[in-house]
Subunit: 439 residues, 3 copies
Amino acid sequence: MTNPARARTLPAVAALPALALLILAGFALGAPAIAQESLASPLPGPLTDPALWPVPLPLLMQGLLVMGLLAGLTLFQSGLVRPGASGAQAIKGICGSALAVLAFFFIGSNVLMVGVDGGFHGTFAFFPLAVEGAGPGAMAEWFLRAPFAALPVLIVAGALAERLRLVPFMIFAVVLAAVLVPIAGSWSWGGGWLDRLGFVDIGGATVLHSAAGWAALVGAVLLGARKGKFTSNGAIHALPTNSLALATFGTFAGWIGWFGLTGGAVLLAVPEAGPAILVPTYVNTLLAGAAGLTVALILSLIVGRSGVMTRGLQGALAGLVSISAAPHLPMPLVALAIGAIGGLLVVIAVPLIERLRIDDATGAISVHLICGLWATLVVPVIDPTVSLTTQALGAGAVAGAVFLASFVVWLAIKLTLGLRIAFEDESGAQEHRDLGLDV
Amino acid sequence: MTNPARARTLPAVAALPALALLILAGFALGAPAIAQESLASPLPGPLTDPALWPVPLPLLMQGLLVMGLLAGLTLFQSGLVRPGASGAQAIKGICGSALAVLAFFFIGSNVLMVGVDGGFHGTFAFFPLAVEGAGPGAMAEWFLRAPFAALPVLIVAGALAERLRLVPFMIFAVVLAAVLVPIAGSWSWGGGWLDRLGFVDIGGATVLHSAAGWAALVGAVLLGARKGKFTSNGAIHALPTNSLALATFGTFAGWIGWFGLTGGAVLLAVPEAGPAILVPTYVNTLLAGAAGLTVALILSLIVGRSGVMTRGLQGALAGLVSISAAPHLPMPLVALAIGAIGGLLVVIAVPLIERLRIDDATGAISVHLICGLWATLVVPVIDPTVSLTTQALGAGAVAGAVFLASFVVWLAIKLTLGLRIAFEDESGAQEHRDLGLDV
Amino acid sequence: MTNPARARTLPAVAALPALALLILAGFALGAPAIAQESLASPLPGPLTDPALWPVPLPLLMQGLLVMGLLAGLTLFQSGLVRPGASGAQAIKGICGSALAVLAFFFIGSNVLMVGVDGGFHGTFAFFPLAVEGAGPGAMAEWFLRAPFAALPVLIVAGALAERLRLVPFMIFAVVLAAVLVPIAGSWSWGGGWLDRLGFVDIGGATVLHSAAGWAALVGAVLLGARKGKFTSNGAIHALPTNSLALATFGTFAGWIGWFGLTGGAVLLAVPEAGPAILVPTYVNTLLAGAAGLTVALILSLIVGRSGVMTRGLQGALAGLVSISAAPHLPMPLVALAIGAIGGLLVVIAVPLIERLRIDDATGAISVHLICGLWATLVVPVIDPTVSLTTQALGAGAVAGAVFLASFVVWLAIKLTLGLRIAFEDESGAQEHRDLGLDV
């Protein structure tokens, strides 16, 4: 059976195991030497203050929760895509997570954290400077940040579901987690120029969610819609979903994991507050998700169109994104209101984006891009010392940078490997059988 | 397409977003003022003693686990209902949880905790007195109690699966989490009259499980059985299940989440013991679940009737309910025996309730009502200072109150909106497609 | 309907409830006496040092994570088997876990831990010596070790999926968790002869994973392949999988739960290090899993044969097994390389074992036996003070003992009850309906 797509992608695929071989070589030759000397200095500041952090257990627990968020988001997407695509979507979620962790280990954490010093990026180096040989504080911080770096990869996978081939996705995942997201992150989290200007984005509303949303938007335009989504007479079709039970459990798991995203980010941003800062953060995260779900579901019931259940689930995620920029600051009632408006936004945005004939298979652009912007811009209402201009500048700068960079990367992949699966029919979407996956 | 049921429910649905609008108005007008002043005094006692709780991390962790219990119970029910109803059941689980959290935030926590003082209920006020502006101890306690309040909502959803419409369910969920469960809870947990008499129900065997069981029983009688469950010749039919793999994973997740229910309740009940009290609590919770599952499965295998696998899963939950009243007190062997008897009870109760021609789609009444009573009445065996009379009085008082109150509420909804889905056939149960959900 | 298999197994099934009755009798007669006196002395050493462990919370958290690993592994297997067998596989997972916990409670923990003293096994007694009346440190240790003991049961269930009857599985599960695994564990974890020789197997690479792999291998040979797996002309057929979405979420959950396995084992092995030892352990566990998944997926894509997605998931588990022997010791880069080689091994081992016409339905032998050996033998590379000879001796001794003992047990069950399900067809595999389960 000669599959031209397969033949074309084999060279690209063959290039990737070089990573593994490189590691094995390093293991055989250099590992013992690495083990003796410390190549990275531990991060300064109260994070490693033994009085405040006798053991960095809270950071580890938040990191595990963020891994649960990745698992939940993957299941949410596997539930929402068409039945034939659910296996491929699941694999994209877990392999995208694994690739992002490795890419962030070797490259991304240097770009994000090492030597940013008010500038536009950290150090471009292919070695885990911030982890290998580091102290427990720095290692625990890396353990928490690694699944953070995988989150944008899953957001992109969700928007482009059912039609993006596996190997192009894997390549984009590595670029996103190694370079694009770490650069945007370094501007704010790494102490870069945006941080110096007073930009506040503790939980990644801009540097994770809207950044990923822009990358997904560019990809959705270049990739085109799923066959059968938009017909030539202008009609928009609701495509069947695999399993709302899976999508719901995935949303639940993602909600629980989100406490690691907001809680972990706050622990890193205001370490001097100690773990007690988790209390208002958790209360706000619970309320924002509940309010987003409730508002989106009830509004959808009133409007009475299709996708009522799906919109409720997206509303929960939208509420959670909306609270992400400064999750510990607002009073509970305010957090609830911010999440409720997130639920409202997703009900408006999903049909709007469809009317622009952009096909977002799981609503990821509405949830993460639109509500990521809302989350960033609402911070001055919570904390009057934060400037709306700076927030808008930060959101705009990340938007422009990610838009351009991801356009270049998507286009390069499209022109070389191609992006779109070869076989597709009205009912089946991406082939999910083990044999015959369009890689 | 004119759907009379939809037309009839739209006014009711339209009433609900008032909640969201109210919040938004409060956000625009009053939020900054709220942020400055503290409206609720922190809870007194050792819970906020900085020496015992330098950070209330254990409370937060238990709260996350209880959220996992809600997710697990939802998946368990989505797995046990007929395939056509699994999506609707999942949505009821997650939207019921969100509504319960909001209802408990605005109303229920006041009724449960604020100013009970030996009486029959706390304060009826539409404002989060116990949360907004409170200290970390009180906020962490609320974070733990909020998912507690959602648990009865899910129990009711499980019993009435496949035939209860969505909007009536949502209304009952709000009433249950805002008023009914908090009143019953205030008698024991809030320091009300039952607590003064020496009634012991730390993990909610009576005030969560059997209370929800009574509300579900009344609902099941008023709603009637699923079409095809009982036929006119007196036969009882086993209806197909969606996925035992999902039901099993949901049971597993619920079991893990149950450590938050028993553990969190014990932390709140005996804060002077410190987090070390979690150790016997966890060991007992593990053993009671394992014993309940084992006994129920083996007995079902011997009896050799249908539902063997389902009964095993229900047995695990039954064992866990059975240990809930005083989970830290018994020695491990005793906890194991109590859970084993719970497994035995569920094997007896499920066919018995069916023979009464009451249709409980997921066995929720057997698991939560019957074993909740067992758990409450066995406490004097564990702790001889507890009076069996008081335990029976408490169980009876909650039974009577919830039975009457939920009868009034169910009947009011039935006479106005109606309870039962309009379209139903032998194979399909509640429609689960996004479009066409019978709201 | 006369089912001869059912008639034959009823006596065996009837024997099991004796366990429950025994417990109930003990509850009625002896429990109060037990409650007053402490029958087990708390474990000595720094584990119970109040300065290091004011509360054994980290142990409890790791124990909950390992329960999540059991849940995840069950879902992974339910996803990989044929659709008709997914319910039965799920039930085997959760009832195997419950039985293992009870067997370990009554017998296994004595064999593993009580009075080993450099020898070949602990105490054979039918009473929870290490739990009942013990202090919080010893109880927390038991809480962590109990789900450890259930892990080998699930590994065996995975290899023998779709054709092993339920009751024979339950009997083997009890023997495995009560005797076989605890004996092997006592040699290393319990301070037995292997520990005295300097054998290092902190996370159970040999005493859990390869031990279970040997038991599964013997079972697979005695049980024979699934009908349709191997045809008489020598062909090997890929059988359909139930749901890769479920298998993926199960892998994700298992990965997250694995932090409890490695983390908990390290806490018990080097308690003097305190909870900070979790930091390198967690980083290594994250990287080994990511590397195993990535290498297995990419190699499978290059080879281009069937099972690409499945191999990726197995690769994640293979990477995690590979790091289990000494998870806190290697530098992150080395841990990554060890996991990557685990991913490579699984890609080689799965087709190799198939070519030997041994039918391993979920790849459990490749993942747990092969990578368990690799994990054990690579320890001297990480820690030069460990002897390769001793590691090989330990792996060989456990292999020989488990191989022989499990052969005897499997054969005894085969000759009395029989092992294999009676009805089986090309498409259906083990019957999963509640009624008609071949017990």
